[in-house]
């Protein structure tokens, strides 16, 4: 958006992703499928549109997405 990463982060927090997104409840419902698709190298955003935008705009859901992905990746390694 600008040439300043700090300002961009503030703008993202204030203005959100600015594109269609699911809400937190919908994100939670879809998150397991989204992560399994990501880890299978499937086009998760095409199959479940709006999740990626929501994760960009919601820090709490984004943290839980990162954790779920990391935990499932550990399972894949074991």
């Amino acid at each position: 958006m600008t040439t300043d990463p700090d300002l961009d982060l503030t703008l993202l927090r204030l203005l959100g992703p600015g594109e269609p997104e699911v809400d937190c409840d919908e994100c939670f419902e879809l998150l397991d499928r989204y992560v399994d698709l990501e880890l299978a190298d499937e086009p998760a955003e095409e199959i479940l549109p709006g999740v990626r935008a929501h994760l960009a705009g919601c820090p709490a859901c984004a943290e839980e997405h990162e954790s779920l992905r990391a935990l499932v990746e550990l399972d894949h390694l074991s």
Binding site: M1, T2, G16, G57, L68
Partner: protein, 211 residues
């Protein structure tokens, strides 16, 4: 909690979980015990990832938090078993309940003794230093437009939620608890506030942070 405990592999093949939990008698009891172990592993994993936000808690305190999260998650999983449609691995589906419970508990514990500043006038994070005079002018105009938008284009509730979440860094679950609301309702308020603020910026000549 040990790193090994947080990274041990699940003991049951993923496809067996759902059928076992729908079984009868001892088969179901054993499946519930295994489920709890799976959820406890996920909860410990999450608490371990967030432990830096809880520097005053002992290992025992953290494990107690993980146990509580696993207990609550087990209740949720069993209550919502019919919602599982096999579109993901069962373990992935179950994990998310434990991660949610643990993450929410960690956020709330980390903010338990902190006073929330819910006054919408606390906009200090909008004061960004700029690398050049030209950038300073452009940035100043943008930040002024944002401040005006926050002041004039939002309802008091939208202003309160936007400032707390987007500027003051209050976790959404903490704010929800203090306001007697929930994450989804607050996010909808945030979403509406963001939409109004974007519309205000566009009306004043800014698109995507640029004029």
């Amino acid at each position: 909690m040990s790193a090994a405990a947080a990274t041990a592999a699940p003991a049951t093949a993923p496809d067996g979980w759902h059928l076992d939990l729908r079984g009868d008698g001892r088969r179901r009891e054993e499946a519930i015990a295994r489920l709890h172990g799976l959820l406890l592993r996920a909860a410990r994993f999450e608490v371990s990832r967030r432990r830096a936000s809880l520097p005053r808690l002992t290992g025992g305190d953290l494990d107690e938090l993980a146990q509580e999260a696993a207990d609550d998650a087990a209740m949720s999983v069993l209550r919502r078993l019919d919602d599982f449609r096999g579109e993901s691995r069962f373990t992935t589906w179950a994990y998310k309940f434990a991660l949610l419970e643990a993450a929410v508990k960690v956020r709330r514990r980390a903010w338990r003794d902190r006073e929330l500043t819910l006054e919408p006038e606390t906009w200090s994070q909008l004061e960004h230093p700029a690398p050049s005079p030209a950038a300073t002018a452009e940035r100043g105009a943008l930040l002024a437009a944002i401040q005006e938008g926050i002041r004039t284009a939002l309802t008091p509730r939208q202003r309160q939620v936007l400032v707390a979440l987007a500027l003051n860094g209050v976790p959404i679950d903490v704010l929800a608890e203090r306001l007697g609301s929930n994450r989804n309702a607050l996010y909808k308020t945030l979403h509406d506030a963001r939409r109004r603020l974007r519309a205000h910026l566009e009306a004043t000549g800014f698109t995507g942070g640029r004029r």
